[in-house]
Amino acid sequence: MDPKTKRAKRFLEKREPKLKENTKNAMLIRGGNANLTVTEVKNITRPFEDQTSLEFFSKKSDCSLFLFGSHNKKRPNNLIIGRMFDYHVLDMIELGIEKFVSLKDVKNSKCPEGTKPMLIFAGDMFDVNEEYRRLKSLFIDFFRGPSVPSVRLAGLEYVLHFTAVEGKIYMRSYKVLLKKSGCKIPRIELEEMGPSLDLVMRRTHLASDDLYKLSLKQPKALKPKKKKNISHDVFGTTYGRIHMQKQDLGKLQTRKMKGLRKRPAEKSAEDGGVSPKKSKSA
């Protein structure tokens, strides 16, 4: 497909695969509900049965993350979180919402929109279980926001805490209050902010290992170049190897002593020896 105008060209360039990728966008989709009219039921999307429409939407809007909400009798309060690779569904995990407290329900001060959250995952399940590991990766992908080179320390005021216990995932969001502790590091107090969710995992659709590996593959140009002659040991000490010319020990300046001083005759002979050499080279 060739662009016909400059604008179209720029648009396509923005979507091309890049070495350093754009920040991932997410699309939040409201699924078909039995209460809606018949026409809307016709256009119902069921990600787990047929992914075509999702992939179409993803291509249309250049979004690689999606969150799909639906509700029916068999699976009430359903939330599907997933991501795409090359416009194809990579991972997809269905979560049931058991309890939900929205942002408005909690009467507290909020933090501004666009704050980069601190993400904390607690529980051994996130490390042991493959599905939970993928879910963790999905949540990080979803909530981490743009990657930034630096951050204002006083602006760190939003924490998303995920706890996995006994088949349930508690997602809580807190506002951080930095209190004086008397030393450099402040003491942390947390204040419930909402939204908070109690989730259970339902169906999952995980990418095969080789596809996942392919999607994790880093282009060669992005890998840091190996620095030669520099090594580190276990304690973090840096060692450098340097190359030096062989030292001429004959010219080494030792302690000056009267007895070692050159006699005037010797000195003149040396001068005479050196001067013709100079003339030769010149």
């Binding site: 695969p17 890049k18 070495l19 990728e21 047929d50 992914q51 075509t52 992939e55 690689s64 690779f85 194809h88 569904v89 980069k116 959250p117 601190m118 993400l119 904390i120 995952f121 607690a122 529980g123 051994d124 996130f126 490390d127 963790k136 990766s137 990080i140 992908d141 981490r144 990657s147 080179p149 630096s150 951050v151 204002r152 320390l153 006083a154 602006g155 760190l156 924490v159 805490h161 706890t163 216990v165 508690y170 809580r172 807190y174 951080v176 502790s181 030393c183 450099k184 590091i185 402040p186 003491r187 942390i188 947390l190 080789d210 996942y212 392919l214 999607s215 994790l216 880093q218 282009p219």
Partner: protein, 360 residues
């Protein structure tokens, strides 16, 4: 008495310090993992399941306590990062974050490398390496370091020279300055054209190969599978001529245009369309602007010229026969003869050097 008092004061201070430390230290059985680039902390300690099983408020309190401890640890690590004041002394304290370490899957596969240009292909074949040259060279006349190329280059710009040598056997009436200028202009034009042709070739190579390799996702669309099957079908030695048909494959083998059939306009009926077509044709004929694709036409012309030149060269060489070749091996520089030998060794499938093969 005084000594005792000093000890007391010291102990009190120590206790105070310990109290301060206690408020910001958290003890964990397993240490947390951090990825400060993502502001991420992973706590692998199993949480107290018994407490979390209980009623609402107690569970909330437990969760918040756990979150507080983990946040405290993360914040402690963040505060240790090298920080500076943004925008002068009065600005906010800004910590420099390391690169994100947690590996997340990419959104799209990495971009494909640009196909090599004609020269790069040739250089690779011959083992020619790029060598680095300094951009500055010593100018003997000006007694200073000057650029190798461009404005104020070393040795002076040959286009601005006041003297030009008349080569042996040249027409004495010919303006040598004009010749140099013309040759330069031609070289520039040829270079630009080669650049465009490389671009065109790269574009063609990009479209000829199936757009993307088929990923083993759970679901493939109909078009994707069709495209891949079409490519696979013609990827045999006979270009798919003797390929047995699949059960439900269409009887007509898909052509290069992807199975599209020619469509003709109806002979009678759509008069408006016919009229507009004829008018457009007339307008094209009447307009001063050429209708043809300039790049394509130039490419065609150039290729034709090259083919002719190659043919003429081949004829000349075949006339000279083996004697000429022997002379050449002895006399010419090693680089050129090497190139010739390489071309002779090339398989018959390669496109260039048609004239030379005649001789071999």
């Amino acid at each position: 008495m005084a000594a005792v008092r000093v000890e007391e004061v010291l102990a009190a201070a120590e206790e105070q310090e310990a109290e301060k430390q206690r408020s910001i230290t958290v003890e964990k059985e397993l240490e947390l993992e951090f990825d400060l680039g993502n502001l991420l902390a992973l706590d692998r300690n199993p949480p107290a399941a018994a407490g979390l099983r209980g009623a609402g408020p107690r569970r909330e309190a437990l969760l918040r306590a756990l979150a507080r401890d983990n946040t405290q640890l993360l914040v402690a690590r963040l505060w240790e990062l090298p920080a500076e004041r943004a925008g002068g002394a009065g600005g906010p304290l800004v910590a420099r974050l390391p690169e994100p370490a947690f590996r997340l899957p990419r959104e799209k596969p990495p971009p494909r490398p640009r196909p090599p240009t004609r020269w790069e292909q040739f250089a690779r074949l011959k083992g020619i390496r790029r060598r680095k040259r300094t951009s500055l060279v010593w100018d003997e006349q000006a007694k200073e370091w000057r650029r190798r190329w461009g404005y104020r280059r070393a040795g002076g710009d040959p286009a601005r020279a006041w003297l030009a040598e008349v080569p042996e056997g040249a027409d004495p009436e010919e303006d040598q300055f004009a010749r140099l200028r013309r040759e330069k202009r031609e070289r520039v034009a040829r270079n630009e054209l080669n650049r465009l042709r490389n671009l065109a070739r790269a574009h063609r190579a990009g479209t000829a190969v199936p757009a993307a390799p088929l990923h083993p996702t759970g679901h493939q669309s109909r078009e994707e599978l069709g495209r891949v099957a079409r490519v696979a079908r013609v990827s045999t030695a006979s270009l798919g001529r003797f390929q047995p048909r699949l059960p439900k494959e269409p009887a007509e083998p898909p052509s290069r245009s992807g199975g599209r059939k020619r469509r003709f306009e109806p002979l009678l009926g759509n008069l408006a369309a016919e009229r507009s077509r004829q008018l457009e044709l007339l307008r094209d004929m009447g307009s001063k602007k050429p209708v043809l694709d300039i790049t394509r036409a130039v490419n065609k012309q150039l290729r034709q010229e090259e083919a002719e030149a190659a043919a003429a060269k081949g004829k000349k060489q075949s006339q000279r026969g083996k004697r000429g070749r022997r002379q050449q091996r002895a006399g010419r520089s090693s680089k050129k003869s090497g190139a010739r030998r390489q071309q002779q060794q090339r398989p018959a499938g390669s496109s260039t050097g048609g004239g030379k093969r005649k001789k071999a």
